[in-house]
Amino acid sequence: MVNVILISHGAFCQGLLQSLKMVAGEDFGVKAVSLNEGEAPEEFRVKLAEAIKENHTDSEQETIILSDIPGGTPFQSAAYLAKQYKIGLISGMNLPMLLTLCFEKSRDKSLEELVNKVTSEGSLGVQAKLFKEGEKSKREKLSVDKNR
């Protein structure tokens, strides 16, 4: 199964992991590695490499890394480690994306399938509602005396 690691500037990744446990009831083996304030990029890279190695069964083992922003130090460290390990790197992580990833990864999907799935529009969960008058959904409503 594909391993999942969350990385971020500060505690965002740990908080996200906590929220995952609250919503889904478990952590699906996901790990969180944060770059702490004042920490050198090299230090972070060592920590991240250790997290990758922890569940690294063989050279075919794939890891998906979710990062907070594209191009930051955590992101760059993950990209650098892709030289050595099979990594799929996704930035702009959020909880809907992580939930989709966790629900799907147990189904023995490949790294590429998973990356495509969790970055598709339906998995990102970004919705806007303005609660204006007349903004009604087209959903079918069941009435007491008639179902579909």
Binding site: A24, T100, E140, N147, R148
Partner: protein
């Protein structure tokens, strides 16, 4: 009963992606909530409608209307969602055939103690579960589709 693909207790009712995962897992086409307070709260109904995928039909009924709805049979795969065990006893007592119940979420509250992991109950709710078990309803705890169901009976003692 036919087409009742999941009966679930979850005090968060429709819970975003958790519910979406169950809808997919069971191939449900409609979700029916039986809860008196919610059925009488138009605004809450609109909010709940936002939380389910658009292609899913939704019905939110009082317990009396719930009986009327279910006794006509179900034309499409349906998930029944309630907040606690009491209303399920009411439905069963009024002739609705429910074989099994998934306990998915009953959060901590002042009057509740932990039953199993994230599931908490008070004394009355435990009694209600025992009544369901006495009626030969299979009651199990399962938060997500990929979890193993755990029978509730041993935790009620």
């Amino acid at each position: 009963m036919k087409n009742l693909v999941l009966t679930r207790i979850d005090d968060r009712l429709i819970h975003g992606q958790v519910m979406t995962a169950w809808i997919k897992n069971r191939g449900a086409e409609q979700v029916v909530i039986v809860d008196d307070d919610t059925a009488n709260d138009e605004y809450m109904i609109e909010v709940l409608e936002m939380a389910v995928p658009e292609e899913i039909a939704i019905g939110i009924f009082t317990k009396e209307d719930g009986v009327r709805f279910f006794e006509q049979g179900l034309d499409a795969p349906t998930i029944l969602l309630v907040k606690g065990p009491k209303v399920l006893n009411y439905l069963v007592d009024n002739g609705i055939n429910i074989d099994e119940i998934d306990v998915g979420g009953m959060g901590a509250r002042k009057d509740r103690t932990v039953l199993y992991k994230n599931i908490s109950t008070n004394g009355e709710e435990k009694e209600q579960f025992n009544e369901l078990l006495d009626k030969k309803v299979n009651v199990y705890i399962q938060v997500m589709p990929q979890d193993n169901p755990v029978s509730i009976s041993e935790y009620l003692r």
